[in-house]
Amino acid sequence: MSESLHILCDRWLGNTGPQSDIVVSSRARLARNLAGARFARSSTPEDLKRVHDAVAAAISAEPIFSEFHEIVLADLSAAERSILREAHLISPELERHTKHCAVHLAPDASISVMVNEEDHIRMQAIVTGYRVREAHRVINEVDDTLTRHLQFAFSSRLGYLTACPTNTGTGLRASVMLHLPGLVMNGDVEKIIREIAEHGFAVRGLYGEGSNCTGDLYQISNEVTLGKSEEEIIESLLGVLDQLIVRERDARQSLFNEKPVFVEDAIWRSYGTLVQARMINSAEAIGLLSRLRLGIERGHFHDRLTHHDLNRLLIEIQPGHLMAMRKVAEETELRDAARADFLRERLIDIANSN
């Protein structure tokens, strides 16, 4: 199952989105609970099963979901569950809890409906590039469709009632994953993260925190879910992101203009390690791949490595994906060797004509 699972999970990466030189992906998720049932973490196994069955029935009743796959978490190995998480289709929370947990995936994996997460339903749309409004439009339609079959816990004063009050109201979390090597290299990232956080948005390093964030990948999302409409939440997030994207572009440009040798050295050292190493762990690989982003910008790899390819590589070198693609065992050393082989094969030819 593993091989087909990672292919299915990565399908949403299939097309190139706008501004993918900086924005890896855009997501919108909605949290919903069924009225009259306890929230998932205080439920008995029987309650969880009832919720699971009710959601499955709602999904199978609608033609627009007819091509969806249901994946029952308890049927998967730990490695398979990590593939789903690495592809950003399930949360770490769902990866840990398996009892009566499931995820319904759209054929291109761009929509996932998690069942019995912290809330009964966490549905998300994920797309490549900078397309937050589109992600929200898609998931809002899914929500409308499910509303025809399921009665959600809702109060006229507080909106959608969620297990944690940080999601109450719209239950909407809109987020983007950004790659910010320019702002990391010029040292501005810490200051900017603080500024953004002060405006009520959450910023976290995708693999690690703050300046120790491996690979310069950051996720930015709204924190406020109550008192604003979905549109207001998204527009205020986009207002912050538009500025941040400009600053990252400026940072890259200034680095190229002011410290060309410093940047070139960082790019080619990273490239050298990636194509020569015989063992490489995922944190190191993500860090080195990050520097290649600047090489793409300099035109070093022509069209043999695009921003889009790089965004995909960042997911493919994660342990679960690697184990499935290269059919390696779980031992860390073997996996690190397989990762080095994979990266060498993938990257050795991209710089030939230089």
Binding site: T147, S156, L158, P165, G169
Partner: protein, 177 residues
């Protein structure tokens, strides 16, 4: 003290009304039945000295949350008790930050409104309403607004307006059932 059976307060519609306010205006007698708590909060004669001069921004918010918090102020979390629907005790919520069921929002209303205000800077939903509920939500929002106006009317001793509002609220609630 005069008791009025199990009639609920005309202002907060939560506590039992124990105080009757009567106003005679142009020979017309109007009556409001309110609870002690609302009497203390909104009847200018009973205004606590520390509240004098406090900005009257949103009385209904006051009714729903801050009054509750004042009463619970300083007490340990467990004294807020358990949810009548799922049995979750408040201290557990404080530890996990996870509620047990949708009814916890009612059981721990005062404390939760306070938390929600801290997190979101707001305690009123302004987003999507599930299809089919639009009418109910509009009605409840109108009733809440009328209650807010009622509280204001009582505070400014405009009992004629207060009675008018009370009747509007009653009419709205009857049309609901």
């Amino acid at each position: 003290m005069v008791f009025f059976g199990h009639k609920l307060c005309d202002i907060c519609n939560k506590n039992r009304a124990t105080i009757k306010m009567t106003q005679v205006d142009d020979g017309q007698v109007t009556e409001l039945m309110i609870c002690q708590s609302c009497n203390a909060d909104h009847n200018p004669l009973h205004r606590r000295p520390e509240e004098a001069g406090e900005g009257v921004q949103s009385l209904f918010e006051n009714l729903l949350s801050e009054k509750g918090m004042k009463e619970a102020g300083g007490k340990a979390d467990q004294e807020i008790g358990t949810c009548s629907a799922c049995g979750l005790d408040f201290a557990t919520y404080r530890k996990t930050f996870l509620l047990g069921c949708a009814d916890c929002y009612t059981s721990f209303e005062a404390a939760l409104l306070n938390d929600l205000r801290k997190i979101h800077g707001d305690t009123r939903h302004a987003g999507k309403v599930p299809s089919g509920l639009e009418e109910r939500v509009e009605q409840e929002t109108t009733a809440a607004e009328l209650r807010r106006q009622l509280a204001q009317a009582v505070q400014s001793e405009d009992y004629e307006r207060a009675v008018e509002l009370r009747d509007q609220i009653r009419a709205l609630e009857q049309s609901d059932t």
